[in-house]
């Protein structure tokens, strides 16, 4: 069940990377390591992404980890503007709300100003481009 809205989750597999996808709110759950692989597939720097995602948490989220049920913690990834993603305390993975994925990728690859940043963001946006009722895309 979706940690954000309680909707049904399905697993979406692309090139061996598995992502849990909420059919209702289109949020995404990445198990530890899966996001790295996805970003590297798009030509991004997985090291840099890992470093960005390892930021110190700002607060406890009300949502719970898909794997262990512990409360997730919120971390701000990137700067100006940063993206709030939610992370499992013991490292099971990350929850991204709809529309956060490409912004995380941008923050982790040097921003929209760099060609590789744009490439990764475009790759990920293409991968999850169809979002019914996505608030960020209208």
């Amino acid at each position: 069940m979706c940690p954000a809205c309680g909707g049904p989750l399905i697993v979406v597999e692309f090139e061996g990377v598995e992502v849990d996808h909420c059919c209702a709110c289109h949020g995404l759950w990445f198990d530890a390591g899966e996001l790295d692989v996805l970003v590297s597939l798009g030509g991004g720097d997985a090291e840099r992404l890992r470093a960005a995602l390892a930021a110190t948490p700002t607060e406890r989220s009300g949502r719970r980890c898909l794997r262990c049920g512990r409360r997730l913690q919120t971390v701000a990834v990137g700067d100006a503007p940063s993206v709030q993603v939610e992370r499992c305390r013991v490292g099971h993975g990350f929850w991204l709300d709809a529309g956060e994925l490409d912004r995380v990728a941008l923050a982790a690859t040097g921003g929209a100003g760099t060609p590789e940043g744009r490439a990764v963001a475009a790759f990920l946006a293409e991968l999850f481009r169809y979002r019914v009722g996505d608030s960020t895309k209208g």
């Binding site: 399905i10 697993v11 597999e13 061996g16 059919c23 289109h26 169809y130 979002r131 019914v132």
Partner: protein, 509 residues
């Protein structure tokens, strides 16, 4: 072989008894601490808070007398210790019964292992079959797979006829057939050498010690918050007792693991020697060990056993079976320097590498035959790791009972077993897919009337196959079902509701 197994068996008994002592001591200490706390807080079973009077202790005891002073001074602690020890003893017996009765299934379900059949993973199945024959086991162990990226494997089974071999999906993905055979041979070696029985018992005991210690320490945190200020007159002896119990609760799980490892070393070498003998290709096990050692991931295995242990008191844990103990480098070097595949060759290589001797008993060596090494098979030109990964992924979907829908845009959508949606939209391309399901067959009115009195019978259904490969679909009751490439029967029965489902081959009218 037998003298080595015999001496291992003796050591195992000592070890299990020692672990039992640790467990009973832990139980007694926790019992005493709880007894002392309860005795202090509520004399005569009246709950008064804060306590009306502090019954203990009269004389202040020097710290070094610790437990005994506390026990002497506090009747509550004394009774608690007795009850605690008794309870721990009972738990010990219960565990032994559990391990004997169904230890393997407890461990396997704690590790989230799923049993597979031959059609699920033919290669793994064949390898286990071959090694069973090579080892001369009376019957083939059950084969389990664990969805875990870490490279790992273990064997369990208190009785040989209930033995099982479990491997992780990571192992299947990363090892080639020969390496997999080496690892399976090692595990079969454990079963053959009667290690699996000991390992099962020890794992269950280690789990309980960790569980008990964790429960105590966790409980303490809660209690500590509640009654910090009320410990007026609680007694120095009781405080010392508490301290000792805390220290013991922290050390006991470590002690259990050290005990375990002190005994597992020889077993690992012996299982390696057995694997070399069974496969006649020790270099394959060596290269498998290299891959296992190289993996960067932390000990996922232990996390998998978390339901049994609740927390991971030591990162290493049961993974030590494979990766930490004895030193993997040493094992690799021994395997690589074997002249032939016999026990004598292993013993020679062992002495050469470690400088120690007598890994395998002298009588065994005298009776041991030599066996020529197998020629390394010609390497496939380009081993298709990606294809292997895909096959393992599909295997996991099958054993996980996912209903899988391949979308034309290249992604695969997988519905978990409990999912109730009848259609899903692909998040990439927006195509909407109907979830494959068996359709209800229209029953002629007359037949329906005849059937009507037996209302319990589920209606017959029909499923049209889409292709010739593995396919998953839902029964009308929602239960996910699968048909494989080899499926040729006209119908199957739902494992949940028992409905008969007609299976129509692809292309048939």
């Amino acid at each position: 072989m037998w003298e080595a197994i015999e001496s291992n068996r003796r050591r195992s008994r000592v070890l299990i008894v020692l672990m039992g002592v640790v467990l009973v001591t832990l139980g007694a200490l926790i019992g005493a601490t709880v007894g002392a706390a309860v005795g202090t807080a509520t004399p005569e079973h009246e709950y008064t808070y804060p306590p009306r009077r502090a019954p203990v202790p009269r004389g202040v005891s020097p710290p070094q007398q610790g437990v005994f002073a506390a026990l002497a001074a506090d009747p509550g602690a004394r009774a608690g210790a007795g009850w605690g020890a008794l309870a721990a003893g009972a738990v010990c017996l219960l565990l032994w019964g559990l391990a004997v009765g169904r230890g393997e299934s407890v461990l396997l379900s704690a590790a989230n292992a799923r049993r597979i059949e031959k059609s699920d993973a033919p290669q793994l199945w064949n390898v286990v079959e071959e090694m069973t024959i090579a080892a001369g086991l009376p019957r083939m162990p059950a084969v389990y797979i664990i969805d875990d990226a870490a490279l790992n494997a273990f064997a369990v089974g208190y009785r040989p006829e209930r033995a099982a071999v479990a491997v992780t999906s990571g192992l299947l993905k990363r090892l080639d057939r020969d390496e997999l055979q080496g690892v399976v041979a090692h595990e079969i070696g454990h079963i053959r050498n009667a290690d699996a029985r000991f390992m099962t018992l020890a794992a269950v005991m280690m789990g309980t010690i960790a569980l008990l210690a964790e429960l105590f320490l966790r409980g303490l945190r809660h209690v500590g918050r509640g009654r910090r200020s009320s410990s007026r007159g609680g007694g120095q002896a009781a405080a010392i007792l508490l301290l000792i119990t805390i220290v013991f609760a922290i050390l006991a799980p470590l002690a259990a693991q050290l005990l375990y490892f002190s005994c597992s070393r020889r077993r690992e070498y012996l299982a390696d020697a057995s694997a070399a003998r069974f496969t006649r290709y020790p270099a394959a096990l060596a290269s498998a060990l290299e891959k296992i050692e190289r993996q960067a991931q932390p000990a996922e295995m232990y996390k998998a056993l978390a339901p049994l242990l609740i927390v991971n008191p030591l990162s290493g844990g049961l993974t030590g079976l494979w990766s930490t103990h004895p030193p993997t480098r040493e094992r690799i070097r021994i395997l690589r320097s074997m002249g032939d595949a016999g026990f004598a060759a292993y013993e020679r290589a062992y002495r050469q590498t470690t400088g120690r001797r007598a890994c395998i008993g002298a009588r065994t060596l005298a009776a041991a035959d030599t066996a020529p090494l197998r020629e390394p098979p010609p390497r496939p030109v380009a081993e298709d790791a990606a294809q292997r990964a895909r096959q393992v992924g599909e295997l996991l979907d099958r054993v996980g009972n996912f209903v899988v829908i391949g979308c034309a845009c290249g992604v695969r959508l997988k519905l978990p077993p409990g999912d109730r949606q009848t259609q899903v939209t692909c998040p990439r391309c927006g195509r909407t897919h109907a979830v494959p399901a068996a359709e209800a067959l229209a029953i002629p009115a007359a037949a329906a009337a005849a059937v009507a009195p037996r209302q319990k019978a589920p209606p017959p259904m029909r499923y049209r196959r889409r292709g010739g490969g593995w396919e998953s679909f839902k029964c009308g009751c929602g239960n996910p079902l699968q048909v494989g490439p080899a499926f040729s029967a006209p119908a199957l029965r739902c494992s949940k509701c028992g409905a008969r489902i007609e299976v129509v081959p692809p292309g048939a009218a």
